[in-house]
């Protein structure tokens, strides 16, 4: 195939490709925004589960803090 034909195909593919990538991700922006609203309306106040989750995280950090503190205490003797 002549290079010019290939390049023409390439330009078409570029336009098509960027078009689709942009369209796809733009629709995804809309979809994610809608999804977040749906999630907010589904879970209502929704604070409780979040708190629980962050609780678990606190525990985790706390554990690390405990261990670090223990080690520091031991070292500082």
């Amino acid at each position: 195939m002549a290079v010019s034909d290939l390049l023409l195909q390439g330009v078409n593919l570029m336009l098509l490709g960027m078009g689709i990538v942009f369209t796809f991700l733009a629709i995804l922006v809309v979809a994610l925004t809608g999804m977040s609203r749906l999630a907010a309306s589904l879970s209502g106040p929704e604070t409780p589960p979040t708190v629980a989750a962050s609780d678990a995280e606190t525990d985790d950090t706390e554990l690390i803090a405990v261990i670090s503190a223990a080690i520091n205490r031991y070292r500082s003797r």
């Binding site: 390049l7 390439g10 593919l13 490709g17 990538v21 942009f22 796809f24 991700l25 994610l32 999630a39």
Partner: protein, 377 residues
């Protein structure tokens, strides 16, 4: 005594070809970069070692009955290894920053222009004597601009297996070079004032949103681009394992055992494609050049889109985060953070850059889907 003769004939020095020596040197360079410069060592070290092993004369380790040949056949030709890596990446990635600010997806989209510009560049290179890239070849090369290793390997294994070695090496090398390639472009395309923009703290993202996210992305993929479904499907499966909170065992397996084991084998298998006749050609130079181009263009278009968003939002967006849209997670986001700190020592952009950064992963998987659908169909 025939034993001696057979033995001499079986020695490496009696059978060594120049190309093999050079390819082993290439393997050593990759390993050097991996160890000394910390260039994506998880992939480049096994790739480099695979290159050495597969170029050992007589041993035929990358032949159909050799270890690396069999691994390649089972894991790369089938596409299984890159897909499992994608599952692991999904299980390792927190898409929270993207969910909190979905508009950053547009940055991930813009940065994929690097891919398609490179496609054109590869085809244009055919005007130089010695180059003969088909549309498939050019597509596989272009995906280097996606700055995403497993996507590049997946697409190359489907569209241009002969170029797979060079493409994978280029993709991972430039991903490692992001801290060197991107900052000058970032400084050139943005003003000091733009770089100093402080962004609003990201809102909290609920667990439910994180669970619904993989389904939302997958739904669009199913409706509009099923050719990207293997990649995006496994990415989202891994992410669901992570976010569902009920399959801790499986999430850990995807994040550790599976991805680690597969990385070793994938690296060795990719290395087995670094043979002299395939790699030591003018085309490899072209691929390396085009790859650099792809990264630069992707960075630039990401930045330009971020500048547009900066204007549209009345200055709420720091244009630097556009550079993270090329993906290269999390390196590109860290580079954004670092360049941002140069302008304002208290401006931490890391979390804001993570949005376009992971958007870039989705963006390049979408681009790969388009290329597969049009070129690979």
């Amino acid at each position: 005594m025939s034993g001696f003769d057979a033995l001499w004939q079986s020695m490496g020095i009696a059978n060594m070809e120049w190309g093999q020596v050079l390819m082993m040197a290439v393997g050593c360079v990759l390993i050097y970069l991996a160890i000394h410069k910390k260039f994506e060592p998880l992939l480049l070290l096994p790739i480099g070692f695979g290159a050495i092993l597969s170029n050992i004369p007589v041993a035929e380790i990358s032949g159909p009955d050799g270890l690396l040949g069999m691994i390649y056949h089972v894991g790369v030709e089938t596409g299984i290894f890159p897909l499992l890596i994608f599952m692991g990446v999904g299980a390792l990635t927190d898409f929270g920053a993207l969910i909190a600010m979905p508009s950053t997806l547009l940055l991930g989209a813009a940065a994929q222009f690097g891919i398609f510009a490179t496609l054109l560049g590869a085809l244009a290179l055919n005007m130089v004597p010695g180059f003969d890239f088909s549309l498939s070849d050019a597509s596989a090369i272009a995906i280097i601009g996606g700055a995403d290793g497993p996507t590049a390997i997946f697409l190359a294994s489907r569209l241009a297996p002969d170029l797979l070695g060079a493409i994978a090496v280029a993709a991972y090398s430039y991903m490692a070079l992001v801290p060197i390639i991107q900052p000058p472009i970032m400084r050139a395309l943005t003003t000091e004032k733009e770089r100093s923009v402080k962004m609003q703290q990201l809102r909290h993202v609920s667990k439910l949103e994180k669970v619904l996210f993989p389904f939302t992305v997958l739904l669009l993929c199913i409706l509009f681009l099923p050719s990207a479904a293997p990649l995006i499907g496994m990415l989202m499966f891994g992410n669901l394992l992570r976010e569902s909170g009920v399959v801790e065992r499986l999430s850990r397996a995807a994040q550790n055992e599976i991805i680690n084991i597969v990385t070793i084998f994938l690296g060795l298998a990719v290395g087995s494609k670094l043979s002299a006749e395939k790699f030591l050609s003018i085309e490899t130079l072209g691929i390396l050049g085009l790859g650099a181009l792809a990264f630069c263009i992707g960075t630039a278009t990401g930045l330009l889109m971020a500048k547009i968003m900066h204007r549209v939002t009345g200055g709420k967006i720091n244009p630097l985060i556009g550079a993270a849209g090329v993906s290269a997670v999390p390196m590109a986001a860290r580079v954004v953070n670092k360049v941002g700190l140069e302008s304002d020592h208290h401006n931490f952009l890391l979390m804001h850059a993570m949005g376009p950064n992971v958007a870039g992963v989705i963006g390049s998987a979408v681009a790969a889907g388009v290329l597969l659908a049009v070129v690979g169909g």
